[in-house]
């Protein structure tokens, strides 16, 4: 089961160049300054864009282009563990976005409880008692710590 090491450089280089070009156009489209030299706020971003494009190009020249299709191939045949990690990362991101969406409506404690219990089920498995306990202590504890001990107000419960 020896896995060939995949080199992402070629693909990375292309992404870097695209990013550089996009940033270049956005820099050129920046509004001119109304005070001082009109081009003043644009020079620095412009320089960055050009440097990024050059570096992306150098990276592309140095990389092994035959590896680029291999990257896509390898993506299809990932190991079960790699898939598991990607799945966990994806779920965490979704949970985090939902966390953000409900945060201002249900308040810190409930939203954080939801976030923590979801992630705990993801990492810790179906240990309902432990997970519930940790999630409750964390959300209430952190709320108390920030609100009372540190003096950083967090939105508490919606009905209080």
């Amino acid at each position: 089961m020896k896995k060939e090491k995949i080199n992402f450089d070629g693909l990375t280089a292309i992404i870097v160049m695209v990013l550089g070009i996009a940033y270049l156009f956005m820099s050129l489209a920046l509004p001119k300054a109304s005070i001082g030299n009109a081009m003043d706020p644009i020079y620095f971003p412009l320089g960055l864009a050009i440097m990024l494009i050059i570096i992306g190009f150098l990276l592309f020249v140095k990389s092994d282009k035959r590896q680029i299709p291999k990257v896509f191939e390898a993506m299809q045949h990932r190991s079960a563990k790699d898939k598991e990690v990607s799945r966990m990362v994806a779920i965490t991101c979704v949970v985090a976005i939902v966390y953000g969406l409900i945060f201002e409506h249900v308040g810190f404690i409930l939203a954080t409880f939801f976030f923590m219990i979801s992630i705990l089920f993801l990492t810790n498995g179906k240990k309902i008692l432990v997970n519930t306990l940790v999630a409750s202590i964390f959300s209430v504890g952190i709320f108390a710590l920030f609100n009372y001990a540190l003096g950083i107000p967090l939105p508490g419960l919606p009905f209080l």
């Binding site: 509004p31 990362v89 990492t123 003096g151």
Partner: protein, 504 residues
């Protein structure tokens, strides 16, 4: 000299107040816990725990963070020794001989010597820091905007160049970081740049969000792998954690030699703890009379990198505190926290805020002592607490990241940015793009652009100002050298490889 001692004494008076002592110990223990988690190192520790310092006031906050920093350094080597998983790159060398020692039933001596070596290395480096801080910051006061800009260019390009493996990717990371820094309203002209008409982006992306995203979220994402791998069981029953006389005889010189070496490497931007510990390990192996024992559980092979590693972490504070330019991920995080508190590190820190600078330095001495105390007799207990719940602790680190980000600006838009940067950090690690240059660039990006424009304005648009002084020219020289040297080295090693294969 007397002035330095006086300053240091008054620093000690502040740092020794019971409240501050408590904070160092508290930060140290929290840092140790985060540092012990596989995959999470000092940068993550400080990033996640920054929010608790928000309302503390600068002196107390810095003292707490020093505790966290040191704690995480001590903690990182615990997991290297016991489960062969370094907390971060700098603790890598501790696995070479630390883990074999634990396997041979000498975990107690391994834990003890790593704490002792860390303590001695850290203390020697703190003495060097005391001696160097004032002269360096006095020298830095001579810098004009042009020199300051070039200094940042030099420091950043050194960091990018030294990124292990691929210099070009280091520069990609660096420039993307500078690009992130350009987002928001330009302070000099009022022009909105790259805000995509999102109100929250007008003030720019807070560097703390980038830091927490990359170091907390990104690292935890990466560590999900260790959950998928299943957890390794750590030894959790110990005898007396201490070393024998013979152990001490073997390790005392390696420890003393590695401390100054680590300090110097740490003070160079970009080099940092990983390089310091690996270099001192190789050094000791070369001069040792029993090089064959290295890797099999030689105590000096653990003592030397541990000393160098902690010395480097102190050395890394020199450019951050005296020049305002962080040289490593962790010091970038600490600088981010300082800026958050309204303190601008740099040459003026020592003249304008001696009340922060000196207690901070004094608390390094105290932090070292407290952590050695915490880590030797209590190591058994701390490790036992942590042997079980990595699966529970990762979610807590994630939870703390989100709370921390909310505490910065009170906006949930930052949650989404956090997710974006977390994913970016995770992807960057996948394709081997180093993250540290990006973090440094995000932090100094604005200052860098401002000094560039100031210099141009002083010279009335003449670019000649950037080559107008010896200082400027030597900084340009350093930059060119830092880019050229690794390239040359790569060429040479390629040629060597080629001739080696041809010979076969």
């Amino acid at each position: 000299m007397i002035e330095i001692l006086q300053n240091l004494m008054s620093g000690f008076l502040i740092a020794l107040q019971p409240y501050h002592l408590f904070l160092v110990a508290f930060g140290g223990i929290l840092g140790t816990i985060v540092g012990m988690l596989p995959g999470l190192g000092p940068a993550t520790g400080v990033a996640v725990l920054i929010p608790i310092t928000f309302t503390m006031g600068p002196t107390a906050a810095m003292i707490t963070m020093t505790g966290i920093y040191y704690g995480a350094m001590f903690g990182g080597s615990r997991s290297s020794i016991l489960i062969n998983t370094p907390g971060d790159g700098a603790a890598l060398a501790a696995t070479f001989d630390g883990y074999p020692m634990a396997m041979k039933g000498k975990a107690e001596s391994a834990l003890a010597i790593s704490a002792i070596a860390s303590f001695i290395g850290g203390t020697i480096a703190a003495v060097l820091l005391v001696l160097l801080a004032t002269p360096v910051s006095r020298f830095a006061l001579k810098f004009g905007p042009a020199e300051y800009f070039l200094l940042m260019v030099a420091a950043l390009s050194m960091t990018a160049s030294m990124s292990k493996g691929n210099q070009l990717k280091g520069f990609v990371s660096l420039i993307v970081g500078l690009m992130i820094a350009t987002i928001g309203i330009d302070a000099q002209s009022g022009v909105k740049r790259f805000t995509f008409d999102i109100l929250e982006l007008q003030t720019g992306i807070d560097f703390l969000i980038v830091i927490i995203g990359i170091y907390a979220l990104g690292e935890v994402f990466k560590s999900f792998r260790s959950i998928a791998d299943g957890t390794k069981k750590a030894q959790n029953k110990f005898g007396r954690i201490w070393i024998s006389k013979d152990d001490w005889q073997r390790s005392k010189w390696p420890i003393l030699r590695s401390a100054p070496l680590g300090f110097i490497i740490g003070a160079l931007p970009g080099a940092g703890g990983t390089m310091a510990s690996l270099m001192s390990y190789n050094n000791e192996k070369q001069i040792s009379k029993h090089p064959e024992e290295f890797g099999e559980g030689a105590i000096e092979g653990l003592a030397a990198p541990e000393s160098a590693n902690n010395a480097a972490s102190v050395g890394a504070l020199i450019p951050m505190l005296t020049l305002g330019i962080p040289g490593s991920g962790t010091t970038a995080v600490m600088m981010g926290a300082l800026l958050m508190l309204g303190i601008q590190p740099g040459p003026l820190l020592f003249t304008q805020h001696p009340d922060i600078a000196w207690p901070l330095i004094a608390s390094m001495f105290i932090g070292n002592i407290i952590l050695a105390i915490v880590n030797i007799p209590l190591a058994g207990i701390l490790v036992r607490v942590l042997a079980i719940p990595a699966k529970v602790l990762y979610p807590i680190v994630l939870g703390l990241s989100f709370v921390g980000v909310y505490a910065i600006a009170g906006s949930v838009v930052d949650f989404y940015l956090l997710v974006i940067f977390g994913l970016a950090g995770f992807m960057m690690k996948k394709v081997n793009i180093p993250t540290a240059p990006m973090i440094l660039a995000v932090i100094v990006g604005n200052t860098m652009e401002q000094s560039f424009r100031q210099a141009i304005r002083i010279s009335d648009g003449e670019l000649g100002i950037f080559v107008g002084s010896t200082l400027a020219l030597s900084l340009i020289g350093i930059t060119i050298l830092s880019i050229g040297f690794p390239m040359l080295k790569e060429r040479l090693s390629l040629r060597k490889e080629k001739s080696a294969t041809e010979a076969v």
